[in-house]
Amino acid sequence: MTWVLDNLSTILGAGWAHLWLALPAIVISFLVAVPIAYLANRYRWSRFTVLLAAALLYAIPSLPLFIVLPLVLGTPVRSTTNVIAALGLYGVALMVRYAADALDAVEPDTLLAATAMGYGATRRFLSVQLPLAGPALLAGVRVLSVSTVSLVPVSALLGVNSLGLLLTDGFQRGIVAEVLAGIVATVVVALAVDLGLVALGRLVLPWERARTARSSRKAPAPVEVAA
């Protein structure tokens, strides 16, 4: 505990750096995965191919990717761009499936009604399909965020600053408190991001808030599975 108190500024700094590696990666993953999922859903074969490719991409071991990616991107191995790109790649691989399922689950009758009202394709996607897929997308993004936040520490092996450095440093110098602090702080960052996402969801999906309010009134113990 004394180690934690003595090194509080180091932990906070590492936590902050950790957050700023994870957040851009999460945002990029979401923004890239959703259009890919939309296009993939058009045909049975494209959906199959894209989801298979995503699964394979996710299976690449992370450390080699951190090292290979700079060769492709031309960025320095220890740059944050490199780390964010790698995290983003995993994020896309994970998020594409969630996004494809979420967009696919929107009631076809509702989409047909929107078309019949005179929505053009783009407008229908942005103002009908995307918001209606919102709750399922949010569930996906919450998994994505936890996955991304817990993947960040791997980049510490390259020497990029994050809570992962507490782990590598703690192991090398045999400071158990430092390792534990790294683990606990990573969990705290993951929870903080998750809470932020839930709050964001309540803000942008107001009709869902009304619905969950109702279901919790009607049934005392609703199983509102969000993740």
């Binding site: 009604a113 019949a116 009202m117 005179g118 929505y119 009709w207």
Partner: protein
């Protein structure tokens, strides 16, 4: 006026929804397409606003082929009411009704104001404007659907079994309401149903469709009831059994002798 000229529709899987059909739905009247499932009635309806394009033939609105018009613009100019209302679940009642005017560029505030008026027109309490569709009963949702269909004041209203999913009492209520509205509005309405009683209650003209989009008979309700063209129509009307009535003293009874009404 809506005119179908030798339209046919064969789906990709080879199903023939409509063989070769020609039909005119006159302006300002309710034309009801009635038939059991698989008779192509919904397919025909959807040809009008290009949700379905005919394999061959033409659909004309006031002598203009709908295929020559921009599909999105065309749909915004035609009211569409479907079964289970098809309301957007993430929009409030008032915004659902305002959908088409907003798509056409009417300022949101103005469109909402008009939507509130329409709620009264279709018999809804404007106090429910801020609710979401699932907070309404099935009958109320259908009323919202009708209001949405009328919002941009279209000449043509397409109604695809709009009252099919509500209970019989509410359905009768909605039917009366539609007749009342039509007396004021004089829209050209194409109405699809599988319920012959509904067709008789609403239709200025009734088109009875057999499987494969063949017209079994068309005419006014009276013409069809008095002179069914063939056994198929008679059977569809229920004239062969339940509706074949006779008078027994003051009572009207059906074939089994069960009283169904009283002469007055």
């Amino acid at each position: 006026m809506i005119e179908f000229r030798h339209v046919a529709k064969t789906y990709e899987d080879g199903t023939v929804a409509v063989g070769d059909l020609s039909l005119v739905a006159p302006s300002g009247e309710i034309t009801v397409l009635v038939g059991s499932s698989g008779c192509g009635k919904t397919t025909l309806l959807r040809m009008v606003n290009r949700l379905v394009s005919p394999t061959s033939g033409q659909v004309l609105i006031d002598d203009t082929d709908v295929a020559d018009r921009n599909a999105v613009e065309l749909r915004r100019s035609i009211g569409y009411v479907m079964q289970n209302s098809g309301l957007l679940p993430h929009r409030t009642v008032v915004d659902n009704i305002a959908t088409v005017p907003v798509l056409r560029g009417t300022p949101v505030a103005e469109a909402r104001e008009r939507a509130l008026e329409l709620m009264t027109t279709v018999g809804l309490d404007p106090a429910q404007a801020r609710r979401y569709p699932w907070q309404l009963s099935g009958g109320q949702q259908q009323r919202v659907g009708v209001a949405r269909g009328l919002a941009s004041d279209p000449n043509i209203l397409l109604m695809d079994e709009p009252f099919g999913a509500v209970d019989p009492i509410v359905r009768a209520d909605l039917q009366r309401e539609l007749v009342r509205l039509q007396a004021e509005l004089h829209k050209t309405i194409l109405f699809v149903t599988h319920d012959i009683a509904e067709a008789i209650a609403l239709g200025d003209r009734i088109v009875i469709l057999a499987t494969g989009g063949r017209i079994a008979q068309q005419g006014t309700p009276t013409e069809i009831m008095t002179e069914p063209a063939d056994d198929f129509v008679a059977q569809f009307l229920g004239l062969d059994s339940g509706r074949a009535l006779r008078v027994d003293g003051q009572l009207v009874v059906d074939q089994t002798g069960r009283p169904v009404g009283r002469l007055t």
